[in-house]
Symmetry: C3
Subunit: 387 residues, 3 copies
């Protein structure tokens, strides 16, 4: 599955007949199956219980299992005869046993028993499966998908996630039928927003955000993240002979608030108190951090490449801890409104367009500056972390 | 999908293991994905409403959209970032806009606005998608699937369709899970009829039509159509040691009428008044015209290659206009009987056999003269229309 | 379908991304699509009635048809135009007719009539399809899947099946989503039993059978079958730092009986009276014969390779004829217990593990001696039968 199937997942009754003739990402060095040597979220923690569980990540098939709060990730194939460990069970504490002959592996991938050969067997100590560092944080299972020594979790993921004393998080996830690079592109380009999300509940009672901005890429200088600064722009336009955008609607009467507001970013608490350089930050290995000016809420959208044609998206909502009553309010607000309005409706609008993309030749323009910047940034910085 | 999948569409739980080792059509020059540079019906007109719609034709993915009675067909892939235009909307009159950033194309495939870049954008006038001539006639959407200047619709399609003052039409359609060439073969060979359609309602109360005819190909001399003349033949036979065909049935007592009748074609109104040279005419780019002797009704079966393994068949029933009461009678008769008896049951019998064909080596015989003539005719005349 | 699809049939929503890099069977000469030149069961006899029926075997597509108790098997593709004979009908006695033009073939694959060409046609005597020897025995349809002269059925299949005066049989079947070689492996290796089948109803109230046996391969000297002798072994073990196997359960209090018993095989009626050399015999072209010491019951598990990724398994239960009352008892016992306990539950446990295997590199050990012996045996003896 390291070949791109155009239109995979669209559920078309009839295949498209279209081949991805060229891969515009390849020129920038963006691999089809995702960037290795990073921590990734892979699964909601509550989905891993007493039984081993298969997950796909970066085109590989892994098995997860847990011992209380400790979680482990191994290659899913038993080296003995090739059976899937994920169909086995956690026979002994902190191990997974192959369903076929009970070869039993600990979290380091070491065979600690070959049950059907008895305790005298010579297999333990010889057999081994590849293991991956894994941890459970923020209600998610995270795996270091790489081959060398993993960096500390706290050094590799944003503070918003790692620093649980300052922020708490609520996460949702969805699988997208597209290559990860098409989804990451979507985040570096402010210009689809007013068009794709024009009718999103979050923007319903306010003008659409500006478009036709003049963009410049802001390298945050940390080797991990960059942003795109937009200046100028317009909120509506008349297209001669065609009509106006956005179409006038009865509900567009309010002043901008929330996402719709544009002020001087350098005057915001987000910048002044927290040093957030740009309202959105695209970050390796494939995420976007969306800041609010007041810096009391951040949204992290973090993708996990599943295979060449599928990507899992985690929406990690980060709320600043501001006392018990505020936390209750934030959780109720998420449950009743934000989870629906953003993680379901707003993200669903992106899902529709990115899943519709047929990878091939492109015609980029001045409003694609952010996307070009991102692709270059990845080509330059991937695998060379400086957290 | 320009590779033939044997048995595709048969819904077998288990794949067949059989490969199409040889393609007997290739020797005659019949392309897998259909003949280009012809008008084809692609969709019932009522299925195209205010939203753009995807269709597959000749292995290509197109988007249709309409402005009142004007219909347009473009390549479905936006040149900007590759999103499918068919998932966009008709934002402005007589245009389709890409769902991602609102690049807007008119029916000629010219970009007339890049909405997210505002009215000053340099993209319009530069970006372009391939467009196809399209028209709405006889309740169907037609596209000229070719690359050069399209001939006038009236010059390319049979008069039965183009001349709406003399004929009115009622159309039905079905998708076949077979390559188009297998379906076209089916029309040039009278000899499957008595066998495949022996129990069709149309032939129920009459003898089966003759078989074992002596065939000769009749080139109509117009570069577009040919027919097959059958002479002699038998209506039943005793096969020594086996039994008789057709098996005697209680309902075979009536004299032939309708399709069962065989007279001297040159005495019929169809020939004398309308110059119809043969009762069935196989015609480029892939259709058969079945005439009745009285010339008051014709059936056109017109195929649209979807991809290598799927073909859409339009049954276009052409009725001579003979006054209001006769039209009402014809429409009621179609609704109550003919639509069911022919377009559903009779065509369904063909569907079953052509979908069962595994393309590969053949052993043609004297009764396949029509089929050989058709394949040769296509090889000689395709792309060189003389309407 | 002569390519292995790893994980095919597992019903995963997302493909695995794993390729079968190496095929450990190839080194031994075990072909992907099964061993030719043997009789195989292909279908329950009651499933073949008055209509022709398609079956897949060894990667080929065949049509079966019957005339009373006589059954016939032909290649499923009509040589005329490639239609599937299985969609035709048995128009005349002991023949199948193609659905397209009525080319009619007898059980030898000879065309005996080309119905649409009448009785004078030159086709009969010229057209031919490949035919396979076929017979109906023990409630199953059997085909000799080979190219030369078939050996007599009685000489090729075990006496337990061929000798109907001594044994009667009851058969069940299931399709496995795995390559046949993975299933055959499963039978030569005693060591998965205690692990995979520990909770099988057959073993519920008794200790698990011994594991960690010392194995030796017993060539039965007939060129058709071999067995594996196991000596020593243990019934339970404590794994330091992990725990014990099997886990103690309330129901493990009875003494071994049935499958659980281990005695001196050379003292049993099976050996002394019937010459059965080993309790289980792996036999070409892909079956296992499981004997009971009392020799009143045998189970034959016989596989039919369907294609590279699918295998049909027949469980043929062989009961010694010991009078009417005993036969009634055996049949009732099968209907009420054994069919469920073994053919459904016990075999289903094997199905789960063999379907989970990803063919690739292996790490075989001392308890895989039987499997290595079997692969070598096949490589040495396949196609060189000495029945």
């Amino acid at each position: 599955m390291d070949e791109i199937t155009p239109g995979a997942g669209l559920g078309n009754g009839v295949a498209t007949g279209r081949q991805a003739a060229t891969d515009p990402f390849a020129a920038f060095g963006l691999p089809v199956l995702g960037l290795r040597d990073y921590w990734y979220p892979v699964l909601a923690a509550w989905k891993l219980r007493g039984k081993p569980k298969k997950v796909m990540a970066l085109g590989e098939e892994l098995v997860l299992f847990r011992d209380g709060q400790n979680v482990y990730a191994l290659d899913n194939r038993c080296p003995h005869r090739g059976a899937r460990l994920s169909l086995g069970k956690c026979q002994f504490k902190a191990t997974v046993s192959c369903p076929y002959h009970g070869w039993t592996f600990n979290g380091a991938g070491e065979c600690v028993a070959a049950i059907m050969e008895g305790p005298e067997s010579k297999i333990p100590g010889r057999a081994k499966v590849k293991s991956y560092a894994a941890t459970q944080r923020n209600g998610l299972i995270w795996i270091y998908l790489g081959d060398g020594t993993p960096p500390a979790f706290e050094d590799d993921v944003p503070n918003l996630i790692a620093d649980r004393s300052t922020f708490f998080t609520i996460s949702a996830w969805t699988d997208y039928a597209c290559n990860w690079r098409v989804l990451a592109d979507n985040w570096t380009n402010e210009h689809h927003g007013p068009y794709v999300h024009g009718n999103a509940p979050e923007l319903f009672f306010q003008p659409v955000p500006p478009f036709n901005l003049t963009l410049s890429v802001v390298d945050h200088g940390n080797g991990r993240s960059m942003g795109v600064r937009g200046e100028g722009g317009i909120n509506s336009a008349e297209f001669p002979g065609l009509g106006s955008f956005p179409p006038s609607k009865w509900h567009r009467f309010m002043k901008p608030h929330g996402r719709g507001v544009r002020g001087n970013w350098h005057e915001t608490p987000a910048y002044k108190e927290h040093g957030v350089q740009t309202p959105t930050q695209s970050r390796l290995p494939g995420m976007v951090i969306v800041a609010r000016p007041h810096a009391e809420y951040f949204l992290i959208q973090w993708l996990l490449p599943i295979d060449a044609n599928n990507t899992r998206l985690f929406n990690i909502n980060c709320f600043k801890r501001m006392g018990l009553w505020r936390e209750i309010k934030d959780r109720v607000h998420y449950a009743l409104y934000r989870g629906w309005a953003h993680d379901w409706i707003f993200s669903g609008q992106d899902k529709k367009v990115v899943e519709s993309v047929i990878i091939g030749p492109e015609m980029l323009s001045r409003t694609d500056v952010g996307l070009i910047g991102w692709r270059r940034f990845v080509g330059r910085h991937a695998h060379k972390d400086a957290p």
